[in-house]
Amino acid sequence: MEKLIALLIAAPLLGAVVLLVGGRRLDRVGHWVGTLLSTASFVVGVFLFADLLGRNAEHRTLIQHLWTWIPVEGFQADVTFRLDQLSMTFVLLITGVGSLIHLYSVGYMEHDERRRRFFGYLNLFLAAMLLLVLADNYLLLYVGWEGVGLASYLLIGFWQHKPSAATAAKKAFLVNRVGDMGLSIAIMLMFTTFGSFAFGPVFGHVDGATEGKLTAIGLLLLLAACGKSAQVPLQSWLGDAMEGPTPVSALIHAATMVTAGVYLIVRSAAVFNAAPDAQLVVTVVGTVTLLFGAIVGCAKDDIKKALAGSTMSQIGYMVLAAGLGPIGYVFAIMHLVTHGFFKAGLFLGAGSVMHGMNDEVDMRKFGGLRKYMPVTFITFGLGYLAIIGFPGLSGFFSKDKIIEAAFAKGGTEGWILGGAALVGAAITAFYMTRVMLMTFFGEKRWQPDENGAEPHPHESPKVMTIPMIVLAVGSVFGGAFFSIGDRFLKWLEPVTGHSEGHSPVSAGEITIATMACLVIGVGIAWAQYGRRPVPAVAPRGSLLTRAARRDLLQDDFNHVVLVRGGEHLTRSLVYVDHTLVDGVVNGTAAGFGGLSGRLRRLQNGFARSYAVSMFGGAALLVAATLLMRAV
């Protein structure tokens, strides 16, 4: 059975190679080839899943060793895959949602002449992401990690003729480098600490390492996670990444890739469990990000950027949960999966709206679309209800558990984390209601695009609506399916471990509080955007609103601190290089040059001088030899 694991990766990889190398002659069928291979991978995944379910909980880890990648004494890097409950969950999410989005893209990218290339990149992304979650050691994981980074870069900048897209791709790439640096240093540190970077040996020898080293490794892994998952302080790229085609935003920048950081933390649970300081930082990062993203999401008029803020915020929840330790791991992953469904669905819905509105993204120019796009409205609406945590829908179960776990952390910390998570839930309800109202309700505020074409909103073709419907079903029932009878907990527990915390507040009280927050958030949004007409031009807004529109000044901060600072640093380094380093180097060179010129004069061309030199040399040689004996 293990033999099948490689197939999971091989199928989309083959697709990527065929589509990217195949050239123009595949233009007609390329999108179907890509979709087919993605689906094939999903089918293999389901097959493996069925196999795992048929086994006992303790035998659900399959290992496939392909070959030894770098065989050096004392440094062994294997190409080995590990399929356990955690990676299985990801495989199903990646290939399942991935296949749906492939299908959706067939319709969405229909008029793009580079559609074949787009599907090649999508397949490349799937292969890299699967490699990331299936790798049995950190080095191979790093390959996948870089691979998804590459695919993300290529896809954000897919419409490279737009300068904004090219810049956004570059920005995403650069910010991710910072995180990648953390991962690579973490791997080096693991190698020096444990003598290996394979999961088994590293997790097995955690007891032998000092807490300081584990904390360092944990913080470096967190840095990596921050880069990939757009957590504060490396969050700035995600909003700009919305320049990519919407299916990309749905798949990579909502459902899968951006959750790789959560995967990394949960996978490294053994390291984090032994490093409480690192865990604390993880929870802080998660909490800050969940509020940060939520606030940004409130102020954005661009529907995709509002959703991007929401993604950041939801991943903040997951990171918070992952930082809580064994209480939270399972719920981090559960929220990750349910979020994969409803956020992908929301993005596809947004894409569908844009499709019908001449690619307009400004929600102030939408309004009243529910009548024109019923399927989109219903699926988007179900996703909306799921994300705000409407009772019975996916988000309700998974988010509730995280808030509960945050309170269960205990002490002041528990109150702060839990309280922040509750506030986050209220803000989530606010900004999502705002998106919903501005887009589908109220009056039409449609405006012709820059070419003067009036929008004629219409429902999208079936190839696009079917994936939306499937995802909507997942958004509705996923949470309940996982939670009733603790199915998901029992499934994942053997890998991540689980402990029940002692919450100072009872589960029922938390649910009530969450509901209260939800009602408050929806209520304020209704008061602001439902009762009153939405102005077509954004009002000036309060200081906070203006800051939030500018992504809470993240780019300004980066510009002042990093760009300016970097420039100053570069300038001073250049100065040091020119004066000190070049001085030493050139001085040495000049010294040797001068010596050379002086020695050269000895070579005067007279045989007699040469003979004297030889005679002197011989005398010295004899003298030195005699001297050696004398000494």
């Binding site: 040059g593 020695l599 002197g616």
Partner: protein, 549 residues
Amino acid sequence: MSTPAVHSLWTTAADRIPQIGAPKIEYGQLSPTLIILGAALVGVLVEAFVPRRSRYYAQVFVSVVALCAAFAAVIGLAADGYGTTKAHIAAMGAVAVDGPSLFLQGVILLAGLVGLFTFAERRLDPAAHGNQVDSFAAQAAAVPGSDTEKAAVRAGFTTTEVFPLLLFAVSGMLVFTSANDLLTLFVALEVFSLPLYLLCALARRKRLMSQEAAVKYFLLGAFASAFTLFGIALLYGYAGSVSYARVAQVVDGSVTDVNPALAGTMGNDALLLIGAALLVMGLLFKVGAVPFHMWTPDVYQGAPTPVTGFMAAATKVAAFGALLRLLYVVLPGMRWDWRPVMWAVAIITMLGGAIVAITQTDIKRLLAYSSIAHAGFILAGVIATSKNGVSSVLFYLAAYSFVTIGAFAVVTLVRDAGGEATHLSKWAGLGRRSPLVAAVFAVFLLAFAGIPLTSGFAGKFAVFKAAAAGGAVPLVVIGVISSAIAAFFYIRVIVLMFFSEPRPEGPTVAVPSPLTMLAIGLGVAVTVVLGVAPQYFLNLANQASVFVR
């Protein structure tokens, strides 16, 4: 019985009817040398009896056949196990047939063959009066600029004597690496030196410079030979024998009998130390170590470039072969005396060669100083006094020979109206005009600089590793620093070729015959193969690294 007087010795010997037995000569084991010597003699006969027009072809034919046959003989001997298990001393103790000698003989023969290709090149010089000519003077005896010379040029004469001279030199080198007594060593030294002095004087262009170089080389060579001979005499006085084995035994104290005729000198350490120092000095002169190097730039520059290439490669191989044998077979008993001295020589040679090379403006002089620096690197391997030291030196010499001949062969291609354009400024922008030639030369320069994936790196690495293992870490550090200094001027030439604007009146690159192409091609091939996959050849050198005593 008291010690008999010299006179009584003589009388008793006469009474016994001295039987001077016919010396036992192992012709088979000496065949490489004998083939070359025989071919050289045939070459002399060719000069005497074959019509002028056909001499060139006859000489090239004889030389190529001889060199190939001798090389085949070396391979045959090695395959027979003479390099390892059957190593022994032939010709009544005069010649050693063992791993190092066979390996180096093979290298010398190949260097001779490749050098011969460049000697035989006749397409580079513009045809003089309808005759294709090579790099050598039309008539060596004609005074430069005289009417006789002009007549000879007009008649299209060429000095085909260079081919037998080359063979004589090669035969001397073959013996030099395998000489197993001091007299054979000296004879071999002279046998290979004299033809080289002559060859240096034979340049077709810039004849005065060439003759000056030859005279300097001859004078200084003779001077050095005198030291060598004096050293041999002193060693004989110390040990009472010229046989390597015997001298070695006396040096390390395992034999203490005193030859009554030398009772006054034997065992006098001063004789040993001075004699060894002078003998070593003679060999250091040949390898071009500082401070005995001063002939090198002048001779390399003045000699015809094909001769320079051959000489730079083969002389160095032969001289290091002899030096190794002397230090490892004859003088290991006094290694505590010579090692520190050789340390000093190696250091000043590496640094001196590299530093003075920085300010050179002539490509041939530049390569001359580079060869001095390389002599220093090889000395570092010699000083290791270990089996690995020997094998690393063998490998280095093999790698270095091909790079050197190839590099000088490229130098012959870059020409202007005055012949070869050796001034560096004329090489500016060569990469734009003749990318292939410039790229090939760049490969050689990178190999000289010891950049990975070239033979130069593998060789330098092996030598430094052996030296470090032998306890000479400071030497290795200085070696690496010298390499860094040396890299500067090698890379500078590359920069000059590829990143400078070509000069309008710059030189042209002549299209050579397949002979030079073969020489250059072999150089590049060996450089790359030894750089990318050196293991086979390192093993070979390692197998060949045991001297016979």
